[in-house]
Structure formats: C-alpha cells, structure tokens
Amino acid sequence: MLKGRNLIDPMDFTLQELEEIFNYADEIIENPKKFSHICDGKILATLFYEPSTRTRLSFEAAMLRLGGQVLGFSEANSSSAAKGESVADTIRTVECYADIAAIRHPKEGAAKVAAMNSQMSVINAGDGGHQHPTQTLTDLLTIRNIKGTLSNLTIGICGDLKFGRTVHSLIKAMSRYENIKFILIAPNELTIPKYIKVEVLEKNKIEFIEVEKLEDVIEDLDILYMTRVQKERFFNEEDYVRLKDSYILDKEKMLKAKKDMIIMHPLPRVNEIAVEIDKDPRACYFRQAKYGMYARMALIAKLLGADK
C-alpha cells in the first residue's frame, strides 16, 4: 500500500513496491490519455529551496499530465525561508493548501524533517549531496524498459564516484537485484567511498572491480552510466590532464562497446559525452529524462491513491 507514504530514501520501498510503481508507469506510457484526469482537483506543492530546472519541471509536468495542479516556489528567496521560517513550519502551512509535496533543499535531511511534520505525502526531490530517490526511480525504470530486466547486468559507472549522490543511490538500489556486476571507473581522487564498498557491495556480496580508464572495460558493459568529472576535484593539474580524456565518451571509445549497451546520464551534461554520440541509438539519456516524468507520474498517483 503506497497511499499516504513518503519517499525520502531510495531504499524506502521494497522491490515489490518498486515493481508496482514501474508496472503502473508502463500502463501510463502505453496509454497516457487514460490517466490524464486521475488527479483532477489535486494539488502538488513543489518546494524548491535551490534551483533545479529538470527535476522541478519533471515533477510539474508529471502532475499536470495527471490532471492535477501545481503551486510552489523555485528558490528560497521567493519563500518565507528568506524570512527565517523553518522547514517544519513551511510544510505545516503548505499542507493546508496542497495534497502532496516535492521538496528540494540544500541541507541534508530536510525532506525527512518535512515528512515528519506533515500528514500529506512528501517526496524528496534532492537534499543536498544526500539522496535523490526519484532520480533512482528514473534510472531503474529506464534500465527496466530499455534493457527489459533489472537483473543479470554488468553496469559501468564512470566519472565522479566520490561525490555523486546519484551514483551512490543507484549502486544501493541495483544491489538488491540478482546477478549484478559493477565496474567502477574513476580517477584515484574520485573513487567510490569506502562505506559504499563495505556496507553495500561487500555486505551484499556484489561483484565489483575498480578501474581508472573507460577504454579498458567498455567492451564488457551492458550499461554505461556517465557522470561529470569536474576539474576542481583533482588535486593537481597533471593528473587532470593525464586522465580527463578517459572520462569523455566519444565515437572512438564507442567502437569497442557492445551493440546493445546503453548510455545513461542523470544530466545536465557538460562535455563528458561528445555531442556526436547523441545520434548513436545506444544514447539513452534524453529518453531517460522522459522516463523520469513517467516515474514521477506513477509515484504521485500511487502516493495520492489516485490509481484506484
């Protein structure tokens, strides 16, 4: 039963509950018209304390496509937070006006505080560098629909694996499925944190290897999940110059990749995927953004109990 629940952490839902959301998303994808009024009269509050074009628009599009309406703010300066109002007080007020809320906040744990102080469902739309569970739903729905399965996959994750919350959540979420192997591709400065290795990968006996260069492993991958490597994360210029090309996906590297490998990226992209790749049928990142909207449609409908 998902009605009335919150989504704060990507692991809040069981595999069965995730399956329920994905199946519902599939129904929406199949026949969107059928669902275009199921949230008539309902309001989604989007409380964005920091700017985010993609996530906010995706939430708003999702609610509008379900027939609901949207209100909210897109930066802290245009809310009472600028006057010093607490998250707890803001959510208590907002629940007088809305039926469900999506919150993005720069502080880690802010969405949890909102959920603890609200009777309505709260969705974490990103809390600092901590969690971004609807991105994980998006990623899983994309993999499930394009690869046809969430099991028996070799997943390469490339780029900044140290600070990327998307990556950490994806590893946790995929570790619950059968026969998943990770190939973690990152410079020494940006390898996956130890706690993810110990508490997620080793604890669940998930096979993984760590490498420094994408071209050494690209031929083994079913999925390549790209993230951005920022120059300022490197300790010295020399290492950056030596390694930067390893983290830029181009046509030459794609020659070695499997015919059915898919390329994913949480977006926005800067230069880590060459624009020439966009035409490659294996490039799935814009489709991934669309799946993000469907995933949020299914989530909102389920949490509101509008699917019945």
Binding site: V87, A88, E108, G109, K112, D127, G128, E199
Partner: protein, 144 residues
C-alpha cells in the same frame, strides 16, 4: 589512595573508562545535585587499568540506555543496605536522542533549532552511529 565511604542506598556507576567520568557526571546533571555525590577519577582497576567511578547517595532516574552509548563497558550497581542489590549491564542502544549533535555542517539539524538530534546504531561491532537525517557517522566523542 583516596577513601570514599560506601553508600547505604543509591547507585554506583563503575568501570567508567578513565577520563569519561566527568562527561557522565555532567550529562547526568550531578553538578547540581542536592544529595551526596562522589566522582572518583583514575582509580586503579584490575579489569581496565585505570577507571572512573561515580557514587550517588540517593535514588535517581538514570537513563541507562544513554549511558550505554557513552561507554557500554560501564557497570551500574544498585545499592540497598550497603550491599549490591543488582547489577545492570549496559549495551549499545539502537537509538539515541538529544545526547550528541550531528557534526555535519550540511545537515538540516545545523540550521533548524527545534529538531530532535536523533541517531541510529549502524554498526554494532564498531559502535558506529549515524544521524537519522543526513546519515553522517558520529561517535560518542561529541557528547557535550
């Protein structure tokens, strides 16, 4: 050695790791106690070399759970008629509230004043606690 009289009725908190006694003393608010209290520091111990001891001549409500977080190796002796009536062995509690504050500057608890500071035991083997909001690892060195 300093001699402290045995107590007739009350509580003896024993086997406190040397140096932690004052922390516990302060945490329990014993500095404001109106009854007799003794804090013994650096007493010799066969078990742990040096230890701190707190003796309380009265019955007070002690949150044993929290003491387990501060130092799980301490023992609590309940004294009646100058004899040990019972011993309480402490364990690491699954959850603690408002004992330590999260040391992650990016945590919501650093800016919102009214939030309870809650932590959950994430690894019993090494006594690791994580903030319930941001999941940052914190330990009992943060007890103020």
């Amino acid at each position: 050695m300093v001699t402290i009289n045995s107590i007739k009725r009350g509580i003896v908190i024993d086997h406190i790791k040397a140096g932690v006694g004052l922390k516990i003393f302060n945490y329990l608010g014993l500095d404001k106690a109106e009854f007799t209290v003794a804090l013994i520091m650096n007493a010799p111990s066969k078990k742990i070399g040096r230890k701190d001891i707190i003796k309380i001549e009265n019955e007070i409500d002690i949150d044993f759970t929290v003491l387990g977080f501060i130092d799980p190796n301490i023992t609590i002796n309940i004294i009646t008629g100058e004899k040990i009536e019972s011993k309480v062995k402490l364990n690491l509690p699954d959850k603690i509230e408002n004992v330590i504050k999260c040391n992650n500057p990016r945590c919501i608890t650093s800016t919102e004043q009214e939030i309870q500071h809650s932590f959950y035991l994430s690894n019993r083997e090494n006594g690791e606690y994580r903030c319930m909001y941001c999941d940052e690892v914190n330990n009992n060195n943060n007890v103020s």
